[in-house]
């Protein structure tokens, strides 16, 4: 006891000396992390002073004035919510109402699977959170499995499954020469993967390429995935945004359901309801029966609890308010179509302008591709020129966010692209 007191006396002298100089940091060896390739683009854009600057980087919708949009149905929903409800914790699985409505969008309004309660579903932190929760679940319950990820894909997909410690492989997807789908190679990869592998599929509006399989191709993909006993996990971040019709955009999923797959789906309201920063989404896993769905849901909750306990309530309330009110839902569907149509219009305009400029290259892919992004085929060097010489910001893989194109900047953009590619 006396020794301890004596020691603590000395220690007090040492620790009483304040100042960073006397203590070294535990973190000196921490390396500065590289900037996120996608979100870093917007940072650079914001720092640019040029009046001509154009941001076709991050996939957030802009109206024809280049402004972010809050949907009218969302504003109305918020008005109804404000001041009326408390902010209590949601259950770990999130808003039951929101999840119910969300499943209808993916599985079908009158889906038997929903009626049979075969779907384990929880509210998740947008698409990222849904993918991450699934990846963690996959790691826990199929620890020997690996995930096959398309080339290319949204960069964060790799991060998500890596952080979940699920080994990843890739499968052929984009065909650079045709700027379309490398279908034969994709089917080969499906056939050559060990039985029972997990495959990540973009349900519609593939990010970053905008290249989607046709309906016939989806049926074949489904067939081969089934034959190998693979697990199909769909990331659906753009339902409604691709064609303008959410039912149409869910076609791939519906085909897989018809074929009897037990799929998983990550859904996001970031784009199609413009709820980006609210982080609203849903993870669902189709099970054999209700009992299994209950078990799976309980385990998903067990993974959510040590990550964030329960999901944020505000965005979920907006979604459930809109989707459970027929008028608001109708309004939403209209607004989604407007957004999708504007993008389709900009694709036509961009291609048209490039052709008018007499570009020697083919720009057909601009209108063939679908959804928010266009995989332009520009090289990183050409992208750098666009940024340095023309103040046009996009990710270095040549991905153009069509949502950032407006009638005001499409000519400028076409000109610039022509300049660096002619």
């Amino acid at each position: 006891m006396a020794i301890r007191r004596a020691m603590s006396g000395r220690i007090m002298d040492r620790t009483a000396v304040v100042g960073a100089r006397y203590m070294s940091s535990w973190w000196r060896s921490v390396q500065p992390a590289p900037k996120d390739p996608i979100l870093g683009v917007t940072e650079a854009f914001l720092a640019d002073q040029s009046p001509d600057k154009v941001n076709v980087g991050v996939g957030a919708y802009r109206d024809d004035n280049g402004k972010p949009v809050v949907l009218e149905c969302v504003r109305e929903a918020e008005r109804r919510i404000a001041g009326n409800l408390n902010m209590e914790y949601l259950p770990m699985g999130g808003s039951v109402k929101m999840v119910e409505e969300t499943l209808k969008l993916a599985y079908g309004e009158n889906s038997e699977l929903i009626k049979e309660k075969r779907i384990a579903a929880v509210q998740a932190l947008s698409g990222t959170g849904a993918c991450r929760l699934f990846a963690d679940f996959q790691k826990h319950f199929c620890p020997d499995s690996q995930i096959y990820i398309p080339v290319p894909t949204w960069a964060n997909h790799h991060n998500i499954w890596r952080d979940a410690q699920v080994p990843q492989k890739t499968y052929h997807y984009y065909h650079p020469e045709s700027k379309g789908l490398d279908f034969a190679a994709m089917i080969d990869d499906i056939k050559n993967a060990p039985n029972g592998s997990f495959f990540l599929l973009h349900a519609c509006a593939h990010n970053p390429t905008g290249v989607d399989p046709s309906e016939e191709q989806w049926r074949e993909i489904s067939h081969h995935i089934k034959a190998k006993g693979h697990f199909a996990f769909f990331d659906m971040a753009y339902q409604g945004f691709a064609s303008g019709d959410p039912e149409k955009d869910a076609k791939a999923i519906r085909i897989f359901l018809e074929d009897g797959h037990h799929i998983g789906i990550a859904q996001s309201y970031a784009k199609n309801m413009g709820l980006y920063g609210q982080r609203v989404g849903c993870l669902s896993v189709l099970c054999e029966d209700e009992k299994q769905a209950v078990a799976v849901k309980s385990q998903l909750q067990q993974l959510a609890r040590p990550m964030y306990s329960n999901p944020p309530v505000h965005g979920a309330l907006i979604v459930s308010t809109i989707l459970s009110d027929p008028d608001l839902k109708k309004q939403w569907l209209k607004e989604v179509k407007v957004m999708a149509d504007r993008i389709i219009g900009m694709r036509t305009a961009l291609r048209g302008n490039l052709e008018k400029l007499g570009s020697p290259l083919s720009w057909q892919h601009i209108t063939n591709q679908i959804g928010m992004f266009c995989y332009s085929g520009l090289t990183p060097e050409q992208v750098d020129r666009l940024t340095n010489e023309f103040h046009i910001y996009m990710t270095r893989n040549g991905r153009i966010s069509m949502a950032g194109v407006t009638t005001g900047n499409v000519k400028y953009l076409a000109n610039a692209i022509h300049e660096v590619t002619k």
Binding site: V30, A33, G129, A227, G260, H262, Q292, Y308
Partner: protein
Amino acid sequence: MRPEFTSPSSSSSSSADRRLNALVRHLATPSMVSQTAVAFSPTSGFHGDSVFSHVVRAPEDPILGVTVAYNKDPSPVKLNLGVGAYRTEEGKPFVLNVVRKAEQMLLNDKSRVKEYLPIVGIAEFNKLSAQLIFGADSPAIRENRVTTVQCLSGTGSLRVGAEFLARHYHQKTIYIPQPTWGNHPKVFTLAGLSVKTYRYYDPTTRGLNFQGLLEDLGSAPSGSIVLLHACAHNPTGVDPTLQQWEQIRQLMRSKALLPFFDSAYQGFASGNLDEDAQSIRMFVTDGGECFVAQSYAKNMGLYGERVGALSVVCTAADVASKVESQLKLVIRPMFSNPPIHGASIVATILKDSNMFNEWTIELKAMADRIISMRKQLFDALRARGTPGDWSHIIKQIGMFTFTGLNSKQVEFMTREYHIYMTSDGRISMAGLSSKTVPHLADAIHAAVTRMT
């Protein structure tokens, strides 16, 4: 490539139809059959088997499960003393007036959009949160040695911090107090740390086992991470005195133990924000490093909005900046960027001195109501002559009281008196009102006298 045939494609076809479909399609393409190395593995969807068939149902979360059970109970006298969510005297959830005001301001501001936040969240929110917990005049803040990132309430902040530590810190063990919030071990384990405990609560005194605490921390390997409840320890309500905190600090610095503070009740314990941050500020004043997880769930009543912040105090500014960049790499594959709504409310309140003052007043009122409930319960038990020393009810601090009741007694109280609480004997004082104190006192009295 595919032969023509029609198949019923309605989404409402039965599972038998679906299987028949698939079979037909399969048999209709003999060329494919010969090409395809068909392997009907047991996990093939064709057989109706799921790859997750083996998943068993997880047990209910012990804390959140209490509310589930409570909700099922039809009794008119039922009382929910489970989850730590504040209730008014009328037993209602409480949205602070200043929060409503802030929400209305945000709603009326047509220029606001719902775009993605940066990965680290709202800059203003982060800055103000750091000031709130460390003090606006904190040398660490002045010297830019603090990095603060917005996270999903306390849980999210702990998880992000723990994941960072698991990747970048040389020691992968965290010491947590015995007992602690039920979710703590899971958060750290899933983040990749291994969990050990240090003695904390003394059941015989219903107070702090200070000797045990010092011994256990004293024998921890140098550099180990130590979880500390900044104030209002959950579940016991037992906090070290300031003198004891100073001793803990000295011991920890001498062994280079890394403090990880969980601050979920700033302002709720004593009613004073600065007082409740004293323990943390001691560890910053000495120039050393620490992690702090902050939650606005209770003190701003923002529970479901999931608002919190993780701060890392470093010894140098460039280090803080590097740490922040690595925190972003943890966050991006977890949820990309944090939810905007709740943090916007907090920033609105913290940056406006009038609203800030309003908040402190409402916060003190909540804390005072809880303190008054403690007094009332203590008096009620004394009036009933309930055997035992119940002074811990008024000595403990914060939202919870560790009654000392055992799980049998708790079960009895639930069964006979419809009182819902966690089986460790923890009651949320916030769930009590002057009207319901007598009922609880009756229940405790009965449990103590009829069950041992």
